[in-house]
């Protein structure tokens, strides 16, 4: 796949898992790019929700924050933040939550709070925002992030957002009825949790990516699916649409001044 950047492959592969019927709570950054690429290609009727209260939004450029004016201008409706979290999220009306992560373990538990000890942190990260309840209230969770040994780790420093806990039936045991993480798309591969253990397992490698490359950028011994396949190459439409979107976004964020 000459000429395709791994970040582009990640966004394109992540966009493919979304459909027009989905109601998707969108995290900022990589998830936002994937969700809007889906909307601009194969899923024109997808409902995108940002935690600022914008429901059914269709921005022309990717927002820098979850509350850019563009999201409100193009939304079906904009509700208050308490209504967003109470009626729409806790009310069970969102089918997919699409999250990014700073640090993640093999069971899809996410840390976006601290590196190091909580009370004496080495690095204070922004924190959970909406993620802790997105992860338990949405029907299922998709995760997208770039692979690195710092990002994909055996043990995360802090459980900001619960995935599959210690694995197996951990979610059911805590009384959760939602599915939790069912998919992860990285810059190298598409991962799904093992049906029994819930450990993330590589299902497809992106074109040109080796098993070794996946292992080198992951902090736990990687399991590969028996039916390991290759992620389909980006289509011309996917790549052009994504690049146009990124170019519009870059121009817009450079500011009018």
């Amino acid at each position: 796949m000459s000429g395709v950047h791994p970040d582009e492959m990640m966004t394109i592969a992540a966009s493919r898992v979304l459909n027009s019927d989905d109601v998707c709570f969108v995290g900022i950054g990589a998830p936002s790019a994937a969700c809007n690429l889906a909307r601009l290609t194969h899923a024109p009727d997808i409902t995108l929700i940002y935690e600022s209260g914008t429901i059914g939004t269709a921005p022309d450029v990717l927002p820098l924050s979850i509350g850019d004016g563009e999201l409100c201008d193009t939304a079906v409706t904009t509700v208050s933040v308490p209504e967003m979290f109470r009626y729409w999220l806790q009310g069970g009306r969102v089918s997919i939550g699409f999250l990014g992560a700073a640090q993640l373990d093999k069971f899809g538990n996410i840390n976006t709070t601290v590196i190091g000890d909580y009370h004496k942190p080495k690095t204070r990260l922004p924190g959970g925002g909406g993620a802790p309840e997105i992860a338990t209230s949405c029907g299922e969770i998709f995760i997208t992030m770039k692979q690195s040994r710092r990002g994909l780790v055996e043990k995360i420093d802090f459980v900001t957002t619960f995935g599959h806990g210690v694995g197996g039936p951990a979610r059911e045991n805590m009384g959760l009825k939602t599915k939790g993480p069912t998919l992860m798309v990285t810059d190298l591969a598409v991962w799904k949790p093992d049906p029994e253990t819930k450990e993330f397992t590589v299902e497809t490698l992106h074109p040109g990516v080796t098993r070794e490359a996946v292992q080198e950028t992951c902090g736990w011994p990687v399991k590969f699916s028996d039916g390991l396949a290759v992620t389909p190459e980006p289509t011309e439409l996917e790549l052009t649409t994504l690049r146009d979107l990124q170019a519009r976004t870059k121009a817009a964020h450079a500011g009018a001044a």
Binding site: E51, G69, V81, A131
Partner: protein, 285 residues
């Protein structure tokens, strides 16, 4: 009835040392001018609450005004971390900062409960989340009807809340449009509420019957500060100055550069300066 007055007077009358204070705005309508006025007046020992403390709280913390921060997301949205808040938490500069951290769902529920005059907010949340182990104010209750265990947090009831809004009418009623965020709840949960607005119009005769309007009698003070949300934005008036948010990452990375910037842009500035700052982002007069 809301007192329509200059921002300097409203801040002096309503914000005191040691207050539990909110300067709210969920990425929109952030009351930068009001916060900067508070910085100029040198208020100390504040407990600052906000769902999404971003660069204006970074500035207040860096100026040593806060003893405690209550929040659910402490970052520069879309850009990265808050370097002044990090310096306070990680290194105690310029002073140590106590934190009380929640999730957005908890904070939204807590503000709403505060507006409703309740002591407690109850919701389905924090399942499996480690915050519940490090924040003693995250508790649980059992539903008396179903037996379900639910998360419980204290309501948020600030001594004073500051928000920015589009406009007021001559009576002091306030109109909030666009991403209304938590503005209404922040005002109604607080003992006193100061609202900065872009303009004052004669009446709200052309306003939609279901619009988000805060009646004059629910607000303490209204101050006209055109551009008062900059570099945040005011829907229908001017757009977000994204470049300033990006630039802040570098300005705030160094203590001396931060102090120099604050001197030039805040301490030596006045509420009249904001109109100019939003000139190139304006979509309407």
């Amino acid at each position: 009835m809301a007192k329509i007055q200059p921002l300097g007077d409203a801040v002096a009358e309503n914000l005191r040392d040691g207050d539990f204070a909110a300067f709210e705005g969920f990425t929109h309508l952030i009351p930068h001018a009001a916060a900067h006025e508070a910085i100029r007046q040198g208020r100390r020992d504040l407990t600052l609450v906000r769902m999404t403390p971003d660069i204006v709280y970074d500035q207040m913390v860096g100026m040593g005004m806060a003893k405690k921060l209550v929040f659910s997301y402490v970052g520069n949205p879309g850009v990265g971390l808050l370097r002044r808040v990090r310096d306070a938490i990680e290194n105690g500069w310029p002073n140590s900062l106590e934190i009380e951290e929640h999730s957005h769902a908890a904070m939204a529920n807590a503000y709403e409960a505060g507006a409703a005059g309740q002591p407690i907010a109850v919701f389905r949340g924090y399942v499996g989340a480690e915050l519940a182990e490090v924040n003693a104010n995250i508790k649980s209750v059992t539903c008396p009807f179903t037996g379900e265990k639910l998360a419980a947090v204290r309501s948020v009831r600030p001594d004073v809340s500051f928000v920015h809004a589009q406009k007021a009418n001559k009576k002091g009623d306030v109109l909030i449009e666009g991403i209304i965020g938590i503005q209404k709840e922040a005002v109604l949960a607080a003992g006193r509420a100061v609202v900065t607005v872009e303009e004052i119009v004669d009446n709200f005769d052309d306003v939609h019957p279901n619009a988000c309007v805060l009646p004059s009698w629910a607000v303490t003070a209204v101050c006209v500060v055109p551009g008062g949300a900059h570099p945040s934005y005011t829907h229908g008036y001017y757009g977000r100055d994204n470049a300033s948010y990006v630039a802040w990452d570098e300005i705030s990375a160094d203590r001396d550069r931060f102090k120099a910037w604050m001197l030039e842009n805040v301490l030596d500035a006045s509420p009249d300066d904001y109109a100019d700052r939003v000139k190139s982002f304006r979509s309407a007069p």
